[in-house]
Amino acid sequence: METYLPLTVKLFGASCIIIALSVMFYILDKRTTFKNLSHSYKQIIIGVLFGAAAIFSTEFGVDIGGATANCRDAAALSAGLLFGPQAGIIAGLIGGVERYLAAAWGVGEYSKLACSLSTVLAGFFAGFLRKYMFDNKKPTVVFAFSTGAIMEVIHMTVIFLTKLSDPVKAFHIVKICSMPMMLVNGLSVMLSTLAITLLAKRKKTGKEKKERSISQLFQTPLLAVIVLSFILSTTFTYFVQTSYSLNYAKETLEVNIKDIISGAEKYPDKINEIADRHIGKSGFVFIADSNGKIVSNSTEFNNKDLNATLKGIESARPDTVFNGEINGESYICEYTRLINPKVTIATVLPSEEVYSERDDMSYVNTHVEILIFAALFTVIYFIVKEIVVKKIRLINKDLGRIINGDLETKIDVYSSSEFASLSNDINSTINTLKQYIAEAAGRIDKELAFAKNIQHSALPNIFPNRPDFDIYATMDTAKEVGGDFYDFYMNHSKKLNLLIADVSGKGIPAAMFMMRAKSELKGFAELDIPIDEVFTNANEGLCEGNDAGMFVTAWQAQVNLENGAVDFTNAGHNPPVIKRAGEPFTYLKSKAGLVLAGMEGFKYKKQSFQLEPGDIIFLYTDGVTEATDKNNDLFGEERLLDTLNNAEFDTMQDICRIVKEAVDEFVGDSPQFDDITMLAFKYIGTEPIPSIESEKASIDDIPKVTEFVETELEKYGCDIKTINSINIVIDEIYSNISKFAYGENGGPVKVQVHKKKSHNSIELIFTDEGRPYNPLMKSDPNITLSAQEREIGGLGIFMVKKIMDEIKYEYIGGKNILTMEKKI
């Protein structure tokens, strides 16, 4: 051992370079721009520099009997284990090739092949371990040391294998180099790893301890078991061989003693000659006389005192093996005392000779065992990794996909019954989950559709057929339910309220807020208070409990249908479009107030303008102007004006349809982002409808009524056929009222006729105050019966229905009102 220490210390000079390089590259890669280099470049630079460290180790190695002890392998190992397989292989190749060539300038010629091969091997070995065993992470210090030590065992084995023709010298070299090389290389790699580990830990302080992987957890006990097995088997072999060697020595000593005794019995005088022999290779015999003086032929010890020469003999019993010492060297000895001649015969064998075979065998055994156990460790490690860890990773990877939302992923690991059951369990769990999700989605869809239904039915969707105005509105929601809405209704002072509004946001929350806004506005508007006060009051209501911070833009007008005067208030809504009779559509410039629910206490302003018969107001939400095509261009206010001005329309329904078509065409396949809501209103005015009345309905009035209607119809240029048809209708309805509406005393009837401008049709209205009677409820006669079977009567209403295009019956305020329309 005492020879190892200075050797080891000397070798550490080179290992310091390896440690320094490891620290340097670690810091470069973590804290400087070096990390931005491509992986290959980094590997090459690291590989080359560690190769240089390997060369340094070679040149400053320590020559031991023709072989060079050094830490060259540690350079390749550190590069490979700590920085990557490619770096390790490059460093190994550089170090190995240089070691081979270095023999030319005097570096250990004897083992040049073995040493260069080992270094190359070290590079590959480290790369392999890093990639396949340590999952491209640096190893722990224990594994770093083991790798270094085992590499040197391999190195020694390679020396042996390349020098099989000269095993004695090879063995000699191995015996000297083995321990220091294992220590130096193991420690070098270990210290490099330790330095980096410490640096990494310092950086990570404060972070919670990283969980270790199964293979890491498995490594340590496996290593402990392997090391324990190794120590046990080595110790056992050592003791067996020691005992065997002792036994062998004892037999040798005893055989010689017996031989000398039997010789002495025959020739007592010649005992010295008999005893002058070699025992084993370098053992010999002492003969001492009765005074204990050595008398045998061995000149060196002649005449000396046996007890003084062979230390240990005094306390030893005769005929037993004992450990003696001659000139400070250890011997295995046995002695016996003879009576005739009276002498002491002591046989000795040097301990070194006795144990040399044991020591040699131990060396070989230890090396072989290290290799076997290292291989065993690696194989067991890989088997576990292959059977368990890899499969778990596979499952984890699929689970990761599932967690990221891909519920179609199937776990497909059936390599063992445990994994098969795990896979099946996970798959069935996911299936159940999928089922629940589908059910929940279905429920939500149903509820959304229901909500949409409620929302749509809250908006007026029956458009009154009125002589004094024409109105139409549409709403297309982007999601199932939206935040847009429109409204129109008469308040008590017979002003027509027109409203368009847009709630911030979309979906259920917007729809709920929309319902609130709608009822607030309508509630106040029906109180017949000015429109600005309607908004101011509604704003107060909407601000209350508006924790969600929603708001509404709204534009509402109150139209006096009798004179066309309009009052309106704008709460941050898009400007409406107005068309004056005979002029193009233009935006109505107005001052916009704050959005509703925006701020408590806001006072809205009323603005006014005058409508003339024929004027049109077009209201819309930003869903129209901000509809986007695939290039993200907006439909825009210009395009809306162009569309309206180029539209060929008769009714307000036409306008809404044309605008919607234009928006749809513009948007193309792009998704609809916002609700699209429109309301078109045309003011026609309330000229009194021409009428003829009778206090007491009678069929005798019919010619008079017919004449009145004919006169009116001729004003509109109606043809004779239309006039005749209308006359039939008058005849049928008037005679019905005369005969059936009242009892004996009769009652009043009024007939009105006019042309509806908005629909280009003739409207005929009968009003009586008789008993409620809806002629539309009367079933049609069967007109397929034969003349004999057919009933007389019932044909009148049937003919009216056939002649007129539209018939509506209302019973309002005790009056039967029958309104009929015929297109002309």
Partner: protein, 100 residues
């Protein structure tokens, strides 16, 4: 409405002009009833009829039912507009109607 009845042996032709409606239908009904006894052929000439309402149709139907028992009935010189009324009421199917 004016009505003119031409008798010719067992056949009579009733020429009508103007409107057949609630007020005039009773006049036509009376004309038919006065002349229909023993007639084997009844012809209505609609050459100058402007329109006919359900009251007029009722007179025609009543006459048709009588004539079914004792002979035949015809409506001639029916204008396009009047024909429409006969068509929509199904009268075209049960009466012998000739277009003008």
């Amino acid at each position: 409405m004016t009505v003119n009845t031409i008798k010719n042996a067992g056949a009579i032709t009733i020429e009508i002009s103007g409107r057949i409606d609630t007020t005039t239908a009773p006049q036509l009904e009376k004309e038919v009833n006065d002349n229909i006894a023993g007639v084997s052929e009844l012809i209505f000439d609609f050459k100058d009829v402007a329109y006919i309402s359900s009251a007029g149709l009722r007179v025609l139907l009543t006459a048709q039912k009588v004539m079914n028992q004792q002979g035949k009935m015809k409506i001639v010189n029916v204008s396009k507009d009047i024909m429409e009324i006969f068509d929509i009421t199904g009268f075209a199917d049960i009466m012998d109607i000739q277009r003008s």
